[in-house]
């Protein structure tokens, strides 16, 4: 990456004595909806580190994936004087006014997984679009050979991330495997039963299909179930983006070749760290607002990565047990999909028949 850190803020692993001095802050984690394994895994990770970071965590979400439902929750959280709201938004625009209202009320907003670009302090992007796109297509090509018909199963036509992934895949195919042809994109509406019927419809409609790429966590089991029902397991390749646990049965019966995803538990941890950092950046130690931040701040000097604090561009994940350094983007990047003030969480993990049992999300 072109961007390099001018100053790395190393967040030292917090010792018990250090954390006790941190003021406890109220943080909420509002995923798209309740009951989805990936979000529950985030929650699991977040819970593991919350106490250490001095965070009083609330995990709540609407019953269905509705942006209005999230807005109602944000509105109530403003009234409840939360310090930081972290959310995976159901819509890039609908919650913007209320999140802006929250920011005006002095609440830091961190989005993860799904952004609200105009109303947040920071966004944690799951992974770079181009990385996951090329990883998928490489795996597909290995299965089908260079000339093949493939199809994509997405959630809805206006799902931002899915569309970005699709674009990334198309770009990569155009560059590297011109023989691959995306014949159709099916939309399963983020509902497993709908995904199932749509996938079966596609399999019937395209008898020469070689692979199918479900890129939404409901489309993955739906598509695999369709392949199983139609006795096409292994005849049509199935490579998707989604969590492995839901699809163990399909790895086992061969109707699913590979899944790509990031470590959701770790993502929950990083989300908490970013919440703390955002809070500290706004309210924290005076050093953080200084022109030149200290090179090695103590835990009591948690320095933020505030927007107006242009020099601070990366931080270490060590305090929550994540390896490496995370970089905050200063400007949008078409290839990775990062926008301003975005942290890209990780490169995708690949789950296959060989390793799927090791992951519990």
């Amino acid at each position: 990456l072109a961007m390099s850190a001018t100053t790395a803020i190393a967040v030292a692993p917090a010792s018990a004595s250090a954390t006790s001095r941190l003021p406890t802050i109220k943080v909420s984690m509002v995923p798209k909806l309740l009951g989805l394994a990936v979000f529950e895994a985030n929650d699991q990770g977040a819970k593991q580190v919350a106490k250490k970071l001095g965070i009083d965590l609330t995990y709540t979400a609407p019953a269905t994936a509705s942006a209005e439902g999230q807005v109602a929750i944000f509105k109530a959280e403003i009234a409840q004087h939360y310090n930081v709201i972290t959310t995976s938004s159901n819509d890039p625009t609908v919650p913007a006014p209320v999140l802006q209202e929250a920011m005006k009320a002095g609440i830091q907003v961190v989005t993860y997984d799904s952004d609200v670009p105009s109303a947040r302090d920071f966004f944690m992007q799951d992974t770079a679009y181009n990385t996951i796109g090329s990883a998928l297509i490489d795996a597909v090509e290995k299965f089908t050979g260079p000339k093949a018909q493939i199809a994509i199963m997405s959630s809805t036509a206006d799902a931002t991330i899915q569309n970005a992934w699709i674009t990334a895949m198309k770009t990569y195919i155009a560059q590297k495997y011109p023989g691959l042809k995306i014949v159709t994109i099916g939309y399963g509406q983020s509902i497993e039963s709908v995904s199932l019927s749509v996938a079966e419809g596609i399999i019937h409609a395209y008898p020469h299909l070689k692979a199918i790429i479900p890129i939404d966590s409901n489309a993955v089991p739906g598509t695999a179930a369709a392949l199983t029902d139609l006795h096409m397991a292994g005849k049509i390749g199935d490579f998707g983006i989604g969590p492995p646990k839901e699809s163990r049965a399909y790895f086992a019966n061969g109707s699913l070749q590979a899944l790509f995803l990031w470590d959701e538990i770790g993502q929950g941890k990083l989300d908490m760290l970013m919440a703390r950092l955002a809070y500290e950046g706004a309210h924290g130690a005076p050093e953080c607002t200084a022109k030149t931040p200290p090179a090695n701040p103590t835990p009591s000097q948690w320095c933020g990565i505030r927007t107006n604090y242009a020099k601070v561009q990366s931080f270490s994940g060590a305090s929550v047990g994540l390896p490496g350094t995370y970089t905050v983007s200063a400007a949008p990047n078409k290839v990775t999909g990062a926008t301003k003030n975005t942290v890209i969480y990780s490169t995708p993990l690949e789950f296959t028949k060989a390793n799927y049992l090791r992951y519990n999300f």
Partner: protein, 359 residues
């Protein structure tokens, strides 16, 4: 010679007749009940939920921005339900109207013009419902069940991949998040519209006809009410109000979405029923509906602020609906609505005479 003079019956002692059983009193009592419940609810939240109390007057009024669009839909829905019909397409209509407005604006049309055009589209949608109901004589439940799907799909199609957002400031302030002092603009708009609809139902000729149709459609026709036109226009008004709700929603969220209204239909019907409108038409008052908008809305918002999950809030609303209806049935029964009658009312066929074509 006056007739009553020739007829001893005509001047018989009034005391002999059954005690006055007034519809008005029954309805007024329910409105009062809803008002009491609303006050009690607010009092409870103010006492028991510090975060709610801390919002202050303006903050509490501000909460209403969250549910007034449901209220707008409920007003129109109440109009239709008063005639004994129902409109299930209002939620989809809101989505459609918001998205049409946004799409037009994106095409470079002035936002206010776009608003007007979206309202016209909503009126047309309402007119389609009305047409099927009056001209083809199809039960509105069926018609609007069908058009609900259709409006929804059209909204999705119009919205395309990237529904528009970030409308002009003036529009967002007026329709969405602005306020005059502590009073949100949306509340002001709602108040104005609510008063107009209330007057329309309670005080105008049109409203008189509307309610009579709900009580007995055939008799209304024989009494000279233009049943077809009144029914038709009730669907159009309902469509326009749903469309207006869609525009307010879009303004409030500063974004349009093809499914933004879907979640508004059931709460709107709940509000109407909670407000005391009989689902079979005729009985009910707009004032009850208007109060119920706030009752249900504050219940929902208050529970969220109390720290309950939105799921709990919805469930509590369902339970409150059942309890309120049980209370209402108990009150009405005391007032003498007997089993036979309630059976007749619920299942009898006479009241639901088909719409005869006007000649």
């Amino acid at each position: 010679m006056s007739l009553s003079a020739t007829s001893p019956l005509g001047t018989g002692p009034a005391a002999k007749a059954p005690r006055a059983q007034t519809a008005g009193r029954q309805e007024a009592r329910w409105v009062a009940t809803v008002a009491v419940l609303l006050v009690a609810l607010l009092a409870y939240f103010c006492i028991a939920v510090p975060d709610f109390r801390d919002l202050g007057v303006s903050g509490i009024l501000g909460l209403s921005e969250q549910f007034l669009f449901t209220g707008l839909i409920a007003l129109g829905e109440a109009l239709v339900i008063l005639t004994g019909e129902i409109d299930l397409s209002t939620g989809a209509m809101s989505s459609l109207s918001g998205i049409v407005m946004a799409a037009l604006w994106q095409q470079g049309i002035n936002i206010w013009l776009a608003v007007v055009l979206a309202l016209i589209i909503s009126a047309l949608g309402g007119a389609i419902n009305g047409l099927f109901v009056t001209r083809f004589g199809i039960a509105s439940l069926l018609v609007t069940l069908g058009t609900q799907f259709i409006f929804g799909s059209v909204a999705t199609a119009v919205g395309g991949n990237a529904p528009p957002y970030n409308f002009p400031k003036a529009f967002v302030r007026l329709a969405g998040t602005g306020s005059v002092g502590p009073i949100p603009n949306e509340l002001i708009s709602f108040a104005v519209i609510a008063v107009v609809v209330w007057l329309l139902v309670a005080r105008t000729r049109y409203g008189r006809g509307l309610v009579l149709i709900g009580y007995n459609r055939a008799a209304a026709r024989y009494a000279g009410v233009n049943v077809q036109r009144t029914l038709f226009s009730s669907f159009v008004i309902c469509g326009v109000l749903a469309g207006a709700a869609g525009i307010f929603v879009s303004g409030y969220y500063n974004a349009a979405r093809d499914d933004i209204g879907n979640s508004l239909l059931l709460p709107a019907i709940t509000v109407v029923v909670l407000g005391g409108v009989d689902i079979f038409g005729g009985k009910g008052r707009m004032s009850g509906v208007i109060l119920a908008v706030f009752l249900l809305g504050f219940l929902d918002q208050g529970l969220l602020i109390r720290g309950n999950s939105s799921l709990t809030a919805t469930m509590v609303e369902g339970i409150v609906l059942v309890l309120c209806l049980m209370l209402k049935i108990a009150l009405d029964r005391r007032a003498g609505v007997r089993l036979k009658e309630s059976l007749q009312r619920r299942f009898g066929s006479a009241r639901r005479a088909a719409v005869l074509p006007d000649t």
